[in-house]
């Protein structure tokens, strides 16, 4: 973990209310997919706390990262307006996703704005011949993001929308699509990695698949470095810190 300034290099609106930002630092530290950054959202408008945002893409050579975030409150509104300049941040935080050696096929399950960090997993492990079956779920067509990016690097991309409004996708929940493919033997994952809202994790748990499954959870944070115990996630082993023990936990260990 390092404390750095990130230089805003690019800031584009992917669709209304969702921003993609490219950030540069000459001192970018080692990165593991699924890790996140804790970025300052300025100090105007009474803002104090940093915002935890996952890394979508990581380019070690260019020393840049890309983040994709939804504009929700004061902090993300501030960030969305930046066209340049330096922002203090601590990075990279958290444990990240592990794809153990020997794993050949991975199912990635993303719900809405939980999707971005899954891309960094493919980015890192695809060259080793690991195949990624990606399932992304959104509320509706108007909420879909990053589908072209994922389509380009996935063995197969399945997009679901709750209301079926996305033409190239399916109607229903992302977990329904996964269930169907696994039960039919169309996809035989050695590992499932997921990031999304808690109900999605509940649905994933209910599938009772025999595949090792890891999920990346969210929590409101204070320090973001493991020192304040604000970011508790209830697990079978007691409260764990999302910022340092997580954000990735074994699905069966998290009390949903």
């Amino acid at each position: 973990m390092k404390e750095l300034f990130l230089n805003v290099r690019e800031n584009v609106e992917l669709r209304k209310g969702v921003v993609k930002m490219r950030l540069f630092s000459a001192g970018l530290p080692e990165f593991k997919p699924g890790q996140f950054i804790n970025i300052s959202a300025g100090s105007f408008d009474g803002i104090l706390l940093r915002r935890p945002i996952s890394v979508f893409k990581h380019d070690g050579e260019a020393k840049t990262i890309e983040i994709v975030f939804e504009i929700k409150g004061r902090g993300t509104t501030f960030l969305s307006r930046l066209k340049g300049g330096d922002l203090p941040a601590s990075l990279f935080a958290g444990n990240g996703f592990t794809v153990p050696d020997g794993v050949k096929s991975v199912a990635l399950i993303g719900g809405g704005l939980g999707s971005p960090p899954l891309y960094s997993v493919i980015e890192k492990h695809r060259a080793k011949g690991v195949k990624f079956y990606t399932y992304l779920g959104f509320a509706s067509e108007s909420k879909t993001i990053l589908t072209d990016d994922f389509a380009a690097v996935s063995e197969k991309l399945t997009v679901t929308t709750d209301d079926g409004s996305y033409g190239a996708g399916e109607k229903g929940f992302v977990t329904d699509a996964l269930k169907r493919d696994v039960y039919a033997g169309a996809v035989k994952p050695d590992l499932i990695l997921a990031c999304g809202p808690p109900p999605m994790f509940g649905a994933l748990k209910a599938l009772k698949l025999n595949t090792p499954t890891f999920i990346s959870v969210e929590a409101r944070m204070g320090c973001g470095i493991g020192a304040c115990y604000a970011c508790a996630c209830a697990t079978v082993a007691g409260n764990r810190r999302v910022c340092t023990d997580g954000p990735v936990f074994k699905l069966e260990e998290v009390i949903l």
């Binding site: 009474g46 940093r50 929590a219 020192a227 970011c231 508790a232 209830a234 409260n239």
Partner: protein
């Protein structure tokens, strides 16, 4: 020994500078030591310790308010034994003052912990009788002056270590509580702990914290904290460690002007994890700029015309 104008002495304990990391925002120093050399700090007040391990409150445990942070962590900590056996060996390798912050359900808990800590290299025991986020204990001992006096007196019998009593702002008259602690044998006072508060989400119609209410910290409480430090400074003779919303060296100087011998920095560690050592460096520059012999020269020197 070279002369150090930043050195302060609080109840016989020497701090290389008056900046101390505040309890609950710094854990046991390990995480921050990966970002900077924590020996740059005058001291560390560790996360509030209880007799047994505690899981704390259910999440969400933190919310951001305007210029403030509301927390309802609820004293999650590994317990006094794990602190002594697993955390102290790390802290002993550091050359910064270690303050053990303790909270109990009963008077016996406080006494037991104070006694256990007597065998350790902890320099000061900070009696947390001001945590607003736990149902039992904590604040239960910190509201009425007679309770403050009684718990201080009781704990004092179990330890020879200097005792610093941490006062709550959520009381009728903090000066009275300060006097009661002093009369009970407190060697120093620290103030303020968080201010009882609440954050609500109008859309979901729910409180943001699972615990409903929590403790407010950060710049939003600085004026309250300054007034209380000033009031207490004028009420007692024992040294005061001031805190509440210190984000910069000039904030720290304001507390010292109001009578604090040293300060604690809490929420600022979240906004900028390097803020505590930066505040220490900034105070040094303040001393030079104002041509002070040493930082203690500033203590209580508020000019009231």
């Amino acid at each position: 020994m070279t002369y150090n104008p930043m050195e302060v002495n609080i109840c016989g304990v020497s701090f290389k500078n008056p900046v101390i990391a505040a309890s609950g925002t710094f854990s046991f120093g390990f995480e921050f030591s990966k970002l900077y050399d924590i020996d740059r700090l005058g001291g560390i007040s560790v996360k509030g310790l209880t007799r047994e391990r505690r899981e704390g409150n259910p999440p969400p445990r933190i919310a951001e308010t305007y210029g403030g942070v509301l927390n309802g962590v609820g004293l999650q900590n590994p317990g006094i034994d794990v602190f002594i056996n697993n955390m102290m060996p790390f802290l002993e390798t550091k050359r910064t003052v270690v303050i053990a912050n303790i909270a109990g359900d009963t008077e016996a808990d406080y006494c037991y912990m104070a006694e256990r800590l007597s065998e350790t290299k902890v320099s000061i025991i900070e009696l947390n009788i001001s945590c607003p986020n736990v149902k039992r204990g904590g604040l239960a001992f910190g509201v009425k002056p007679e309770d403050v006096g009684a718990i201080t007196k009781a704990v004092k019998k179990y330890t020879k270590k200097p005792l610093m009593v941490k006062l709550s702002p959520n009381v009728a008259d903090i000066a009275e509580n300060a006097r009661a602690a002093e009369a009970g044998g407190a060697d120093a006072l620290s103030l303020i702990n968080t201010v009882s508060g609440m954050a609500v989400d109008a859309e979901t119609r729910r409180p943001i914290l699972k615990n409903v209410t929590g403790g407010l910290s950060g710049p939003a409480i600085k004026p309250i904290a300054l007034a209380m430090v000033w009031k207490v400074y004028n009420a007692v003779k024992i040294p005061i460690v001031g805190m509440g919303g210190i984000m910069s060296a000039s904030d720290a100087a304001e507390f010292i002007l109001c009578g604090a011998s040293a300060v604690q920095v809490g929420t600022a560690n979240f906004a900028n994890p390097l803020s505590a050592p930066q505040i220490a460096d900034g105070l040094r520059r303040y001393v030079d700029k104002h041509k002070l012999r040493d930082i203690s020269e500033l203590k209580g020197r508020l000019i009231v015309d």
